[in-house]
């Protein structure tokens, strides 16, 4: 879709295809941007924060889990989901850490080049804007994936040391899916950060706008979804159907937030005993073995719509940024 570029704004629309591939120079951009990221101080700070979080939560989780070693089939998964006051579980941390890392990586992607006056020089080279934007996005995505994979391995290693039990095949598979899900979740925020960097000329403004969006979804969207559901599906008499309709609307609305999508899908993947992310009526539970874990494929099915939702959100935000960037005037 993206390769089929529409004619840019203004007259003299080129009806014929432009020469060459829109991705000429893509990998040059990716490798340069990644080298920049990996050697930057920003990256070092982010790594430190994340490693500290991982170490802290895993140590408290293992302290708790050691007492129950041998009783739990999915001991390794508990490493990620066990919380102990005052620290939340590692996945709880990821819900808000990943957006911050992603925004920190992407908020100055485009406006940084404009402010450093390198943009016009870059675009005077034989490449299309497509390659520049996608290259920057891929570089930040790869960097994020690298950080997350490192932490993932770190936790697994710490878990091995502290628990003395290796993860089983299914646990490893579930954790791999969880890693992919986390990267997809980061993609949404990367695309958002990049969009902000196209919309706002000042990197500080772009960072604030992206963080405000994050704050909105983290804190306020849940409240707003609740209020909207009450207004749109009021409970007049108190019938169960009314209550259910309201609760379902609230859930549907809240799922517009990537945070909710990520949290729910994480639950599906890391807690095999969870059988549904929606509402379950007592009648639907007849004959079910409560607490019996779902097979991996069923858990994935449960979280699959969420993952697709996250990827779709990423594509949508990226496409919007792409259109705006194509039309942007490069001069001050």
């Amino acid at each position: 879709m993206l390769a089929q570029r529409s004619a840019p704004a203004g007259g003299a629309a080129a009806a014929t295809r432009r020469e060459g591939s829109p991705w000429t120079g893509l990998w040059a951009v990716v490798s340069k941007e990644m080298a920049d990221y990996l050697s930057s101080t920003r990256m070092l700070i982010l790594e430190l924060i994340t490693v500290l979080t991982a170490a802290g939560t895993v140590f408290t989780a293992t302290a708790q889990l050691r007492e129950t070693v041998g009783q739990d089939r999915f001991l390794f998964l508990r490493l990620f989901t066990t919380s102990q006051e005052p620290l939340p579980a590692f996945v709880g941390f990821l819900v808000f850490l990943v957006p911050i890392i992603a925004i920190a990586l992407a908020f100055d992607a485009v406006n940084g080049e404009l402010n450093a006056r390198t943009m016009s020089r870059l675009l005077a080279q034989p490449i299309y804007r497509d390659a520049l934007l996608l290259g920057k996005f891929l570089a930040s995505l790869f960097t994020l994936a690298l950080v997350l994979t490192t932490i993932w391995l770190l936790i697994a290693g710490l878990g091995l040391l502290r628990l003395g039990v290796p993860p089983g095949g299914e646990e490893t598979a579930r954790l791999l899916w969880f890693l992919l899900l986390t990267i997809a979740y980061g993609g949404v925020w990367l695309a958002l950060g990049m969009l902000a960097s196209i919309l706002f000329r000042q990197p500080a403004t772009a960072a604030m706008a992206a963080l405000a969006t994050w704050l909105f979804f983290t804190v306020f969207w849940g409240i707003i979804a609740g209020i909207l559901a009450q207004v749109l599906r009021p409970v007049r008499i108190g019938l169960p159907a009314e209550l259910l309709a309201q609760a379902q609307l609230e859930q549907a609305l809240s799922r517009l937030s990537p945070n909710v999508l990520y949290t729910e899908a994480t639950i599906a993947l890391l807690r095999p005993e969870v059988r549904s992310l929606g509402f379950v009526l007592p009648s639907q539970l007849q004959g079910a073995l409560l607490g019996a874990p779902l097979p991996l494929s069923e858990s994935i099915m449960l979280g699959w719509p969420h993952m697709v939702g996250l990827i779709a959100g990423t594509l949508l935000l990226f496409a919007l940024g792409y259109v705006l960037f194509q039309r942007q005037e490069i001069r001050a």
């Binding site: 704004a9 020469e19 000429t24 920049d36 001069r331």
Partner: protein
């Protein structure tokens, strides 16, 4: 001579504002063309359209025989562009900055290495090629920008305000580089509002005002058109009151101004020193000094806009 760049009816509108208005421009191979005009006259917009970095609202452009809107990759591979206030990645070294551009141009690593070193050495940056660009002066950045362009072995170089913000020595060096490039047969187009510098290097200039090219041609031709000559002859001579009248009578002298007790400044259509000397002697004066100054672009410019203003008031 073959044509390197041709624009016909080139127009750019931003809403109601017309930044460039039906521009016609032809640049031939090996020429140095200067685009002159006050800030906001549309010089940068014109350059961006010529490079295909901004879409024209109307009109056509051919660069090296290609349409930059349709074949941007081929055009950009063969044209070097030095933007005004050129920027680099401050944390990278000069070599690394150019290496990135070389990769974007699709050079192999080996080829890029050789081209980068040659270009940096030529621009006098060989010593500092492994230093971070953050510590570079404005003049060094400008030369690094030119090194980047030379690395591409371009057929046409377009420079936007290349000497702006350079100290006089750096500006002089930069103009020297431009002259050298010209002697190698590279076509150059540069924009500036620093007129004496443009005059020093350009074969032909175009005067820009409010999005329109109002005058175009070699500096002497413009001087003849606008000033009716534009030569300044300074005469120092001792004599009686008849001297000034005698000077006025010399053919080709348009104006005589008294600049001091024994000094006159003549405006003339050409270098009339022999005729002036003769006139002084014939009027019984004693000639002390005689100097002629070629037409000055600054004056052409000032006079042109003066005329425009007078016309506007009259109308």
């Amino acid at each position: 001579m073959d044509i390197v760049l041709e624009a016909r009816g080139l127009t750019k509108r931003y809403g109601d504002f017309v930044a460039v208005d039906r521009l016609d421009l032809t640049i031939r191979r090996g020429e140095v063309f200067g685009l002159l005009g006050p800030n906001g006259a549309g010089k940068t917009t014109t350059i961006l359209m010529l490079l295909g970095l901004t879409e024209p609202s109307a009109g056509s452009v051919q660069v090296l025989g290609l349409d930059p809107a349709r074949r941007p990759l081929s055009v950009k591979a063969r044209v070097g562009y030095l933007p005004d206030q050129v920027g680099f990645y401050d944390t990278l070294t000069a070599r690394e900055n150019l290496a990135y551009i070389a990769r974007l141009n699709g050079f192999t690593r080996k080829e890029a290495g050789a081209r980068i070193e040659a270009a940096l050495a030529r621009m006098g940056l060989g010593e500092v090629m492994d230093k971070a660009v953050g510590a570079f002066s404005r003049g060094m950045r400008q030369r690094l920008g030119l090194a980047e362009i030379l690395m591409k072995h371009p057929e046409l170089i377009i420079m936007d305000e290349p000497t702006l913000g350079l100290d006089p020595e750096a500006a002089r060096e930069f103009l020297e580089i431009i002259r050298n490039l010209r002697s190698e047969g590279i076509t150059i187009m540069l924009s500036s509002h620093l007129l004496h510098q443009v005059q020093a290097v350009c074969d032909r200039v175009g005067l820009f005002s409010k999005g329109k090219m109002v005058l175009e041609g070699p500096v002497e031709v413009l001087a003849r058109e606008v000033l009716g000559g534009g030569y300044h002859i300074t005469v120092e001579a001792e004599g009686d009151a008849g001297l000034e009248a005698a000077l006025r009578q010399v053919e080709g002298v348009q104006r005589v101004q008294r600049a001091g007790p024994n000094r006159f400044v003549l405006e003339a259509t050409g270098d009339l020193r022999p005729a002036v000397a003769q006139a002084v002697v014939e009027a019984g004066g004693q000639l002390l000094a005689l100097a002629s100054e070629a037409p000055n672009l600054e004056e052409v410019y000032a006079r042109y806009f003066q005329k425009e203003a007078t016309h506007a008031r009259a109308a």
